[in-house]
Structures are given as structure tokens and as C-alpha cells.
């Protein structure tokens, strides 16, 4: 499983099951072999191999990555083999190989961590922002992408609605093991991954407003991020170190450099 969402209002855990083409909703206190409360699965759902998801608690909607280069939106309690309410995908949208999803109900938008690898270290990875009610093949309303962003091999994203910030995990490192090298390595030690923080209103090729990056962080390939505003902490899970890192970052829970309360640069 490469995604998870905790729904604090309904005390539920929602996870995608990529290998079973399903979304499971479990009780918040589930442990062991607990059965799911709901299973969303079947050909009508359009769910193929889902890696990530998010629940928009304000609008009571479940947002799912299809595994098929599309964003699918269902009623939060959808169960069984039902069609999505809305779908975003297609060439105009640019949606491709989604590894992270989030929503900002205050700003009425859906955030997509989009990965477009084009060989070597070339990529057009991006944070795409769509209007919440978009359906079909719309263009994103904003796109954070380009060399100044440092976004290479993006993974899970999370939104801090209160401060209008997007937290993104960036692996920053293609797996590139060349056996012919005298000392090959799948990891480039000079290009370890990081947590990047952007304003939700950022657009274009702009540096992040905050980062957790460097040898002291211990991050190699961060793949997941969550925040705990109460304790002013950022949590990052690393898929190479097999480790969970907890960072105390009060600076991320006040106004970040160059940002207004609503973002903008």
C-alpha cells in the first residue's frame, strides 16, 4: 500500500489496495485481521491499481487515484461496484502516474502529485492544482514544476488548509544502477530526497518556501509526509531507510517566507 488517510471526523482509516484494485475503509481503531467497513471495488469504479487517495471531509468526498492516470471522485461512503461522481484525466489535464493526492476545501481545489519521467534525470514532475468540481479533461488551474522547484520523483502530498501550504515528498533520485560501473549504486548520495513546502497559490517554476533536506535529516528516499500542527511536527517515511522521521519544525506552522496567509508569491 502506498497511500493512507485518517478521517478524524468519522474515525476511519482509508487505504488503497493496489494489487486488488480496491479501496478499503477500516475502523479507526482497527488492528490485526479486522475486516473493512466498506470495500470500493469493481469494473464500474474505474479503479485499476490505486496507489494513493485523500478524503475531502468538508465535502464528504473520497478522492482516489485510479492507477490509470486519472483522478476519481466518489461520495465518501461509496461502497461496492459504483461509478465515480467525477473523473479528471486526459491530455489537457496532464494527469499522469499519480503518486499523491490532497484537497483543500477552503480553496476548493484538488492537488495532484504528478510524475512524468522522460529518461535519465529528465522529468516533468509537478504539483497540479485543479478546481474541486473539475470533471473531464480540464487544464490545471496552477502547476508547480520546473528545475527551480527541485521536484523530481514526487510522492505523497499533504495540505495544511489553515496555512495554505502543500507538503510534498520528493525522492530527487532516480533508481539508476548501471552494472557496468566499477562501483554501481542505485542511490546517488549527492541527490538525496527532501520534504518541500509550497504555498497552495504558488504557480510555475518556483523554489519551495520550506524544506527539510540534507545529510542531518537522514532522508534518502522520502515517500510519505504527514503533519501534526498541534505539536508543530512533520512526519516523513523513507522507503530506502525503512524509517519514520519526526521533525520539530515550528517555522512551518507560522507564516512562511514570502507567503501571505492565503499564499501567493
Amino acid at each position: 500500500m502506498h497511500g493512507i488517510f485518517y478521517d478524524h471526523i468519522h474515525d476511519e482509516i482509508v487505504v488503497p489496495v493496489a494489487l486488488g484494485g480496491a479501496i478499503l475503509t477500516l475502523p479507526g481503531d482497527a488492528a490485526g485481521d479486522a475486516p473493512p467497513k466498506r470495500i470500493l471495488q469493481g469494473p464500474r469504479t474505474g479503479i485499476v491499481q490505486p496507489d494513493t487517495l485523500f478524503v475531502d471531509l468538508e465535502h464528504d468526498e473520497l478522492i482516489v487515484e485510479s492507477g490509470d492516470d486519472a483522478v476519481l471522485v466518489f461520495p465518501r461512503t461509496a461502497s461496492g461496484n459504483v461509478a465515480p461522481s467525477r473523473r479528471i484525466g486526459g491530455p489537457n489535464s496532464g494527469v499522469n502516474n499519480i503518486y499523491g493526492l490532497a484537497a483543500d476545501s477552503k480553496r476548493d481545489c484538488i492537488i495532484v502529485a504528478n510524475r512524468v519521467e522522460s529518461g535519465g534525470r529528465q522529468s516533468d514532475d509537478a504539483i497540479l492544482v485543479f478546481n474541486r468540481l473539475d470533471n473531464g479533461d480540464p487544464k490545471p488551474r496552477t502547476k508547480i514544476s520546473g528545475p527551480h522547484t527541485g521536484i523530481i520523483k514526487i510522492r505523497q502530498v499533504f495540505v495544511d488548509e489553515e496555512r495554505g501550504l502543500i507538503f510534498a515528498t520528493i525522492k530527487n533520485n532516480f533508481e539508476a544502477y548501471n552494472y557496468a560501473d566499477p562501483r554501481p549504486s542505485p542511490w546517488d548520495p549527492d541527490r538525496t530526497g527532501f520534504i518541500g513546502v509550497w504555498s497552495i497559490d504558488d504557480n510555475g517554476d518556483v523554489p519551495p518556501r520550506g524544506v527539510i533536506k540534507g545529510p542531518a535529516t537522514g532522508l534518502v528516499w522520502p515517500a510519505g509526509v504527514a503533519i501534526n500542527p498541534k505539536n508543530q511536527e512533520v512526519y516523513a517515511i523513507d522507503s530506502v531507510s525503512n524509517a519514520l522521521f519526526m521533525f520539530k519544525t515550528p517555522e512551518f506552522f507560522v507564516k512562511l517566507p514570502g507567503s501571505s496567509a492565503a499564499g501567493g508569491r
Partner: protein, 439 residues
């Protein structure tokens, strides 16, 4: 899914610390000691600082363009806390009884470890391995199965969700060494089995639900000899595989997961890293089938039905992982991860049948087993506990809630097993003040 409770005390918190800085080489540089419990970040830092990656290792690159003039909060921050497991996590196990060695794969620290076959912990102490293969040069990432070519004295392992390589090392490999050879394999390969009789190698692949057969010795981007794939096969998230050259069968353990897209039926070469599927396959919708053991003719290829299938409530199969076959007794042993048991079936069983023996219960100390292997010479069965830092040895006829003959610990008794395996997401449960990590 593993629930991690983050509070002030009583946690499975293990700081990653670079306690071993490595041994100086002849030229005075320090390269990582693969046997030490270094974090990957520390391994990389040592590699970079000491030019171990290559002779012309460049200085660390700068941050992305524009970052040096931008005002960016945060930076190179030390974590306040870290949850990780500094010890190897035992995944799969295989025995060479002629040479009295046992080999195990470790996806936590991306390593292979070998031990003396008779090594056993007398008390709470851990056993030092004979050899450890670990480090960036090995190419090992999220590795899964391990198997041996006993004739050539070679160790095989395979990357699962990242890497997409099978790596082969000589028995005596140790340290941060390149594999003897590598083979590109389909994404999400899990199981491995070599048939010396057929001179072939079988690889199971989870998401595309296929068994891929290569010639033994295949390397590089060599194509498989044949592939078993398609809806008739009944393959569902296959894991353990055994290529039985004596009985000319392929035996496969299936979790039962069926993804939402039907992999192309047939024998066409599997998709490899860096390539795309030429035509999207039809969306059929995901489903959860019952776990099963499916059996095919060893020459099967394409979309063929199994010749036998063990499946149903009586089997007790639940997340069947590795399998091994005792061809003297005609039995199949299954590492049944879902209920922490070893289930033994007759090799020729079919349908909804109960196992002939089950090793299960608190006395057995079996906890989340991932690997199982027969030692036919010594009439023993080995179990690799993924949920504990132990490998267990039983008599091959053991049954019920019995204590193991020997326990091999790779960490001091009581060391918690965090269980992270290529984790890809995290969530915060604000109600319980807990952090949730799916594997």
C-alpha cells in the same frame, strides 16, 4: 498495516546511529562495513565522503537552481525522533546442507546474510553471521526471495517493488560488492526457484500475475524462455514458487489479489523497466479471490489452467508466502504469514483439503513467517520469522504447538521488529495521537 503509537514512553523507538564508522582501507579511506547496523543515509554519507562510489566522485552538488538566493525556511534539520529497526529483518531462507550453511534475505537493511547451519542462540544473544552482503554496489533494494544454485555455489535474490533486478552473488561474497551478474526482471518480482534438472529459473511476479521462466544463468536484459500469464491460470498476486524438475511441475502460492486490469494473456515477454505496455489491457475490476496453491506443468506457457489447485476454507491458507517442496516425502510446506503458521500439504493434494500438518502456536515462536525451507539431508525445516528477529528450526515432521529444535537470533531477544518494508505513505491519527504507516 502497522499501527505505530507515538507517545512519550513505551515506544518501539530505535534511533539510527552510525555506531560503526567502518574499517580503513589500504589507502586510508573508510568504506561502509556492511555488517554494521548503519542507516542507508549514513552509508551514503560515508560513500560520498570517502569516494567509495567511484574514483572520481564529485563533490556534493548544490541545491536546485535559485534556492541559494531564495528565502527558504527549514533546511538540514536533525529529526527529533526516529523509528527504525537497526537489525536485519529476516525474509526468506534457504539451506545448503552439504556445506552446512544457511542463507537469508533481509529487506530492511537490503542485505544477504549467511550463518553456520548449526548456529543457535543458547539464550538471549544474537548470532554473528558468517558473511553479510550489503551496500550500494550490491544493487539490492527491497529484496524478497532468496535461492541457491548449489552446483555453482551461487546465491540468488530479487528486488520486489523497487529495483526490478535479480542479483547473483558467489557463496563467499561479503561486504559492499557487485553481484556476479544481474538480470532485469518484471516489476514486483517476489519468488525465485531454480531447477537444476531443467537448468531453468522461475520468477513469480505479483501485480502482473505471472510466472516467468528464464534459463539458469540468464543475465542483463535477456528475455524469458516462456511465461505463464492470463485469466485461466488462476494466478492471483503470486509469491512463493517452486520449479520441480523431478516431477516436471511449477508450484505457486497465491495471495488471491486480482488487480483491476487484466494482464495480457499469453507468452509474450513481460514488460521490463523503462518500457511501456503497448496496448492498455481491459479493465475488469479488482477482486479478492481466496488464497491458493496452484500447480502447472513445468513446460506450461501462456494462459493455461492449473493442473491442480489447493484452495478453500479447510486449507487455512492466509497470505501464503514462500513455499518449499520435500520431494522425498512428497510434501509442500507453506509459510502462512496471515496466521503465523507453517502448513504442510501433500504434493498431489487438490481442492479444499486440510493440511496434513500445521506447526502453529505460542510454543513454536512462529511470528509472521515469510520464508520456509527444507533441509532434506538433516530432516529439518527452517522458518524465517519476519515478525521477529529469529529463524527457527523444526523437525520436518513437526506438528502442532511444538518448540523449535534451534533458534537463531539476529538481534538480542526482545528487540522489537518495526516491520517497515518499502513504506510509501504516512498519516497522523489526531484522535489517538498515533502515526499510521502502511506497508
Amino acid at each position: 498495516m502497522r499501527r505505530l503509537i507515538i507517545a512519550t514512553a513505551g515506544l518501539m523507538l530505535l534511533s539510527i546511529s552510525g555506531r560503526h564508522s567502518g574499517e580503513p582501507t589500504a589507502d586510508g579511506t573508510i568504506c561502509p562495513v556492511p555488517g554494521s547496523p548503519l542507516s542507508e543515509a549514513r552509508l551514503l554519507a560515508i560513500e560520498r565522503e570517502n569516494g567509495c562510489l567511484d574514483d572520481g566522485a564529485a563533490a556534493p552538488d548544490s541545491w536546485p537552481p535559485g534556492w541559494n538566493t531564495a528565502t527558504i525556511a527549514g533546511g538540514d534539520i536533525q529529526p527529533a525522533r526516529v523509528v527504525a529497526d537497526p537489525y536485519p529483518t529476516l525474509h526468506s531462507v534457504v539451506v545448503d546442507s552439504e556445506r552446512n550453511r544457511v542463507f537469508m534475505s533481509d529487506p530492511n537493511r537490503h542485505a544477504l546474510w549467511s550463518y553456520d547451519r548449526l548456529a543457535a542462540s543458547k539464550g538471549r544473544e544474537q548470532i554473528e553471521p558468517l558473511t553479510g552482503v550489503r551496500g550500494p554496489a550490491t544493487g539490492m533494494m527491497f529484496i524478497a526471495a532468496i535461492t541457491l544454485d548449489r552446483d555453482e555455489q551461487e546465491i540468488y535474490t530479487v528486488d520486489n517493488d523497487i529495483g526490478d533486478r535479480m542479483m547473483v552473488f558467489p557463496y563467499d561474497a561479503a561486504g559492499n560488492v557487485k553481484p556476479k551478474r544481474v538480470l532485469d526482471v518484471p516489476h514486483q518480482a517476489w519468488g525465485l526457484s531454480i531447477s537444476p534438472e531443467r537448468n531453468e529459473l522461475a520468477v513469480s511476479v505479483e501485480s502482473s500475475r505471472q510466472i516467468v521462466i528464464y534459463r539458469k544463468g540468464a543475465e542483463g536484459r535477456e528475455q524469458p524462455l516462456r511465461t505463464v500469464r492470463g485469466p485461466k491460470t488462476g494466478l492471483g498476486d503470486p509469491h512463493g514458487v517452486f520449479l520441480d524438475g523431478r516431477n516436471n511441475e511449477i508450484i505457486v502460492a497465491n495471495h488471491g489479489n486480482q488487480g483491476g486490469r487484466q494482464p495480457a494473456p499469453g507468452d509474450a515477454p513481460a514488460r521490463q523497466r523503462g518500457t511501456r505496455v503497448s496496448e492498455p489491457q481491459p479493465i475488469v475490476g479488482g477482486r479478492f479471490d481466496e488464497p491458493s496453491i496452484t500447480v502447472y506443468n513445468a513446460d506450461a506457457k501462456g494462459d493455461v489452467a492449473p493442473i491442480r489447485r489447493i484452495q478453500g476454507e479447510k486449507t487455512g491458507l492466509n497470505w501464503p508466502m514462500a513455499i518449499d517442496v520435500d520431494r522425498n516425502r512428497n510434501e509442500i510446506a507453506v509459510a502462512n504469514n496471515g496466521d503465523s503458521s507453517i502448513r504442510v500439504f501433500r504434493r498431489t493434494d487438490a481442492g479444499d483439503v486440510a493440511p496434513v500438518r500445521v506447526i502453529k502456536g505460542p510454543a513454536t515462536r512462529i511470528t509472521g513467517p515469510m520464508g520456509v525451507a527444507y533441509d532434506l539431508k538433516n530432516n529439518e525445516i527452517w522458518v524465517a520469522n519476519y515478525g521477529d528477529h529469529t529463524a527457527l528450526v523444526f523437525s520436518n515432521t513437526a506438528s502442532g504447538n511444538v518448540a523449535p529444535k534451534r533458534i537463531l537470533r539476529n538481534a538480542p531477544a526482545g528487540s522489537p521488529t518495526v516491520g517497515f518494508g518499502n513504506p510509501g505513505a504516512v498519516a497522523y491519527d489526531s484522535k489517538r495521537d498515533e502515526i499510521l504507516v502502511p506497508n
